[in-house]
Amino acid sequence: MHPSHRGAAADRAPRAAPVAQAVVVTGVSRYLAATVAARLAADPRVGRVVGLDAAAPPADVAPQLDGVTTVVAEPHRAADVLADLRADVVVHMAVTSRPPRADDADDDAKERNVIGTMQLLAACQRAPLLRKLIVRSSTAAYGASFKDPAVFTEETAPRATPRGGFARDILDIEGYLRGFARRRPDVLATVLRFAPIIGSAADTTLTRYFASPFVPTVLGRDPRLQFVHLDDVREILHEAVVGAHPGTFNVAGAGVLTLSQAIRRAGRIPVPVPEQGLSAAAALARGLDLGGYGFDQLDLFVHGRVVDTARLVAEFGVTPRTTAEAFDDFIRAHRGGTVLPATQVAAVEQALLDGIRRIRAARPEAADVAG
């Protein structure tokens, strides 16, 4: 575990001194990591920012990497990169819930997540100048079980190994990270367990799920969901680099939306399907490589997932937008597929009310009763 005096020492450091000489951000071929790197590059307190990825950033992400040097290298070469750069901070963002490209199979995602993390951590262990390691994790680390408490704190241990590949990756990654923290107690390790990320610009499996007009749900289940806004994710990652916040933190918007409530807010139509049918559909989607929909989503839609964020708010001094606010922002950007807009429902309500009033006004006995 991390001695508590370290955080206090970092706070006493003069503000003018650069808080980081050279920051390495992994996974910058993806939008979120790219924008996190660019924001760090724009901060005068941060020296050099280098984006590390096995793939070159695609055309839609490359323009985001303003002021960021991109190094395209396989994870096993990370040790050389860290040594060459004399990196003192590593932000590990190459942990993703879906294959980066449609032709990538599930195994490649696992390869990237788990093996990539192992190789990066091995490199970090041999980097003598490294002071800080920030890892993107997920609330999927809590697993999925019917015996789970309603609200997970950072101390809650998973009761059952989840079915989803991503959730298992997360458990593996956090396991390796605990090993790393034991071997390099001098490195400040921050693990951020993010709730599903949502926002006007976010493009994830979940945002695509809510963007379709008819949304499949699990029959007889109405899971509690939490989201975190993309902008808050960026803010918190930035603060993790420039501040000193060792430990594991849940990152989610306060409050809860149930799945049915979220679908209604989005003006979509829920289509309940028995769980067996969805399991088969998930397997089929994987087989046909339709991307995204899998046991990770299914587990979430059966069990739901709510976390306690008191530790984050106290330590980071940042209160993320609430789950409802984050979701409403996402809806505003995806109004296109709305089947049942709130304005139309309100109009129908007014029409019904007016109609009933007219009918009652036309009937004299109704007026007598009212009088």
């Binding site: 309603a150 699990v218 807010r265 769980e275």
Partner: protein
């Protein structure tokens, strides 16, 4: 009469229609609040409780005593006896607690795992404010000043035969006592009479229960003989009594002491048993007025 009142507000029928339509619109567009446990206060107050109140008042003719012991604010662990094959007593206790005070308070029940593994039932239970019976949830609710309801007998209570009616079963490991001690919230024993006769369990078909993965398969005078009609409870007379609270303040270190936990659990059990016996003496005819 204030002159600013809009004319429709003076007509109660019109106001009721407008209110109902606004409620429907709120539900249809997702504009309502659900807490972190999944409790939907609006749905509970406007749909579930009014339905249950019919059963509570007209069918079971429930009488409540000792309301003054139920705290008007702050947390408490409400501990009751459990009976009646299906856990109707939890629902009736929820109505009794809700209607005891103004402003009303909601009882947050702790439910068995089986409730949460069952589709539909799990969804309804969460919306009514029930959560999984575990230390983390119980203590989180107690710390935020909620009234938490627990039936420590569990399936041993609901699944016992009619011959054993009103004899309290073992209280498990007394985990509920540890939660109350750790949070320093009082324990409020409650005795419920009437649930045993609503679904008197004459036999338990264990092989069928094992096949269906249930803790028991009940045979009552009407079920399964009358099919779905057998699910209607018999119109027994219900009495609910809240007993004086047992304070646990400042004893949080005792939560890990098994002797203290067992003794306190026993005290609660004895209190409920003697109150049940007293209520039974007050109600000679289980199906009386």
């Amino acid at each position: 009469m204030s002159p600013v009142d809009p004319p429709p507000a003076t007509d109660p029928w019109d106001r009721r229609v407008a209110d109902a339509l606004a409620f429907l619109r709120g539900r249809l567009t997702g504009q309502y609040e659900v807490d972190e446990f999944g409790f939907d206060a609006q749905l509970t107050e406007r749909v579930f409780l009014p339905m249950l109140r019919r059963l509570y008042q007209d069918w079971f003719r429930t009488e409540v005593t000792g309301r003054e012991f139920l705290p008007e604010k702050g947390g408490a662990l409400v501990v009751a006896n459990h009976a009646g094959t299906v856990a109707l007593d939890g629902l009736m206790l929820s109505v009794a607690v809700h209607d005891a005070h103004d402003p009303a308070r909601h009882l947050r029940l702790l439910g068995a795992d089986l409730v949460f593994t069952t589709p539909v039932l799990s969804e309804l239970a969460r919306k009514m404010g029930t959560t999984v019976a575990c230390h983390a949830d119980a203590e989180r609710l107690l710390r935020t000043g909620e009234l938490v309801g627990v039936f420590p007998e569990g399936f041993k209570g609901v699944g016992k035969g009619y011959a054993e009616r009103y004899r309290l079963q073992r209280f498990g490991r007394g985990g509920f006592v540890a939660s109350a001690l750790r949070t320093g919230q009082p324990i409020l024993p409650v005795a419920i009479v009437g649930a045993e006769e609503a679904y008197p369990m004459l036999a338990d078909i264990q092989p069928l229960a094992r096949l269906l993965g249930l803790p028991y398969f009940p045979v009552t005078p009407t079920f399964p003989a009358l099919g779905p009609l057998g699910l209607l409870p018999l119109p027994s007379k219900w009495l609910i009594e809240f007993c004086p609270p047992i304070s646990t303040a400042g004893r949080s270190e005792a939560a890990d002491d098994p002797m203290v936990v067992f003794d306190l659990a026993d005290e609660v059990r004895e209190t409920i048993q003697s109150t049940v016996d007293r209520l039974l003496a007050r109600r000679p005819d289980p199906f009386g007025p």
